[in-house]
């Protein structure tokens, strides 16, 4: 279970570039829940995921994963509980290492890394079996450097790496945004299979309204560092793309009203 309490994060505080990315986020995610995160650009979606992953420390609030308060843990220590897939397909793999070596690294996430061989016969056999599930023919290319693969192939492998050792929390940060439609579809299919097979607690950021409505059992919408909608259960199942679009339209109108109010104040007083 992921428990976020009063999370606040401001980037470049006290400067003209100050950005209040998280403004007191409270969120509980139950074990096995697949939560979709949507929101406008700059709403704090990726910041929320990065805060949970430990890419930076939050200014205020606490982060608990299961029984552990990880708020002050560095990123690599939190990785014991967290699997991640990034937006950029090149961020999740080491390009000059082979497919097998990349997967072998993932096979020891959260375990000590000593002087045992990174790759042995039994691990190689498991790798081949798991990679063949991706249906990309990569099981015959385990010794090829991963940098020679397409973005879609790398992203599917990153997903496999993130879930090789079952994470307590899987973070997917717009992981299909940089892929062509066919590759994106393939990666989403793999995502659904992996999450369902292992009942993974998942937090997935997406800009795709189709993915947002068809995937997951809960959806949260963010705006200006706050959670403004939280759909779960039947409400999430009923949610369709037009409904979601209307919620975005509400946000847009509210923004316009804010702008209009600001303009009136400027005209009247400045």
């Amino acid at each position: 279970m992921l428990e976020l309490r009063g999370l606040r994060k401001t980037f470049n505080p006290g400067t003209p570039n100050e950005v209040r990315s998280l403004q007191g986020i409270d969120l509980d995610i139950e074990d096995g829940s697949f939560v979709i995160v949507v929101g406008t650009n700059g709403s704090g979606k990726s910041t929320l995921l990065n805060a949970a992953a430990g890419t930076f420390y939050v200014d205020q609030g606490s982060i608990r994963i299961g029984a552990h308060d990880v708020t002050q843990w560095p990123e690599h220590r939190r990785a014991k509980f967290i699997g991640r897939v990034f937006q950029n397909p090149f961020s999740g793999t080491a390009p000059n290492l082979s497919i097998a070596e990349n997967l072998a690294l993932a096979a020891r996430r959260g375990l000590p890394r000593g002087l045992g061989w990174a790759l042995n016969g039994s691990l190689r056999e498991s790798l081949s079996k798991e990679v063949s599930r991706l249906n990309m023919g990569l099981e015959h290319r385990l010794d090829n450097v991963i940098g020679s693969l397409s973005g879609g192939q790398r992203q599917a492998l990153t997903l496999l790496m993130a879930t090789w050792r079952r994470p307590d929390l899987l973070l997917l940060d717009e992981h299909t945004a940089a892929l062509d439609p066919k590759s994106a579809e393939q990666v989403i299919l793999v995502t659904e299979q992996v999450v369902a097979r292992h009942k993974l607690t998942t937090l997935m950021v997406t800009h795709s309204m189709h993915q947002a409505t068809t995937l997951g059992d809960r959806l949260i919408m963010m705006h200006r560092g706050n959670i403004i909608h939280d759909f779960r259960g039947a409400a999430k199942r009923r949610l369709r793309v037009p409904d979601l679009m209307s919620h975005f339209e509400e946000v847009r109108r509210a923004e316009q009203l804010d702008e209009t109010a600001a303009e009136l104040i400027r005209t009247a007083y400045v």
């Binding site: 690599h76 999740g92 390009p95 690294l105 002087l115 990174a118 790759l119 450097v145 790496m161």
Partner: protein, 317 residues
């Protein structure tokens, strides 16, 4: 023949330096110039212990450990105190100059009457040859000392390269290689990139110091100035090695780096034999590395005036 054997021996000994530079520059993409100080540190530690009668194997091992400490200092400055990598290396290298003088107690320590790995190798060859101090090889007179030094250097380098290759294929070694490739990924996989960089620089400078220890024993002295320009020398060897093997797989790259060092030393020996002024050696080495770095860029541009990267972006657009 003596010139050839000498060039081969020094080339092999300096291939340890090249392997160290390969680790820092290529594996970690870290411009670590600590090597200029740590090669002298290795020589200084080994020479000081040897003149005090310490066993050559122990003295050489101590040099390796000293080099590791120097690398750890650079790594710590960079990762824990957020000092730029190049500057971290400069700081440690500068400090090592004084450290080396303190270790040696003077600027030069001769090893003329000390038992070294080279004198041991010489004795082994003499004993094998039934007491003869030289032998005939293809019509050339070869001194037992030269043959022993070459054989010992070769054995040492093969052993170190094999251990390094094996280490880089372990869980720890693979994590180190991945850190240089993608630090964001290794953190997401539970590896502390800071620890990996510090350990990697330790190993790199340990190898460089080992090279210094063997070089001091080969040439019969340690000198506080002997490290000047050695990073560039190592880089030149790595570049030649990469050109020789042409692939980026671990085994061939390690072999290529050793071959690059030997070939570079042979080229230098030939150039000196043909009358190159020894004073110009560092200048020529620096020019060589400069050309090796710049020529691929021109090849990438196809001499059209556009950079390779821009061309590639244009192709994707």
């Amino acid at each position: 023949m003596t010139l050839l054997i000498g060039a081969l021996s020094i080339g092999l000994i300096l291939s340890l330096l090249a392997l160290g530079v390969f680790l820092s520059f290529r594996v970690f993409a870290f411009p670590d110039i600590t090597a200029d100080g740590s090669i002298t540190l290795g020589a200084a530690v080994a020479a000081t212990l040897l003149v005090r009668g310490v066993d050559p194997v122990l003295a050489t091992a101590a040099a390796f450990v000293a080099g590791m400490l120097a690398g750890a200092a650079t790594g710590t400055l960079h990762t824990r105190f957020k000092i730029n990598g190049l500057l971290s290396g400069i700081l440690v290298m500068t400090a090592l100059y004084s450290v080396n003088l303190h270790v040696m107690g003077k600027s030069n320590v001769p090893l003329l009457s000390s038992t070294t790995l080279v004198t041991r190798a010489e004795r082994a060859v003499v004993s094998l040859m039934g007491g003869a101090t030289s032998f005939n090889l293809l019509g050339w007179e070869v001194a037992a000392r030269d043959a022993g030094a070459l054989a010992a250097s070769f054995a040492a380098i093969v052993m170190v390269a094999a251990i390094l290759y094996a280490f880089l294929r372990t869980n720890l070694g693979t994590a180190m290689r991945a850190t240089g490739d993608n630090d964001q990924m290794v953190r997401a996989l539970g590896v502390s990139d800071k620890t990996m960089i510090t350990m990697g620089l330790s190993l790199s400078n340990g190898l460089v110091a080992l090279s210094g220890a063997l070089l001091a024993q080969y040439q019969g002295f340690a000198d506080v100035q002997m490290g000047i320009g050695m990073v560039v020398w190592g880089l030149a060897s790595v570049i030649i090695g990469e050109a020789l093997v042409g692939v980026r797989q671990l085994g061939p790259v390690i072999t290529g780096t050793i071959m690059g060092s030997v070939l570079f030393r042979l080229l230098v020996a030939i150039a000196l034999r043909w009358g190159l002024n020894p004073n110009d050696l560092k200048l020529i080495t620096a020019l060589f590395v400069f050309l090796a770095l710049i020529v691929p860029r021109f090849i990438g541009r196809g001499f059209t005036g556009k950079s390779g990267r821009k061309k590639s972006q244009a192709a994707h657009a």
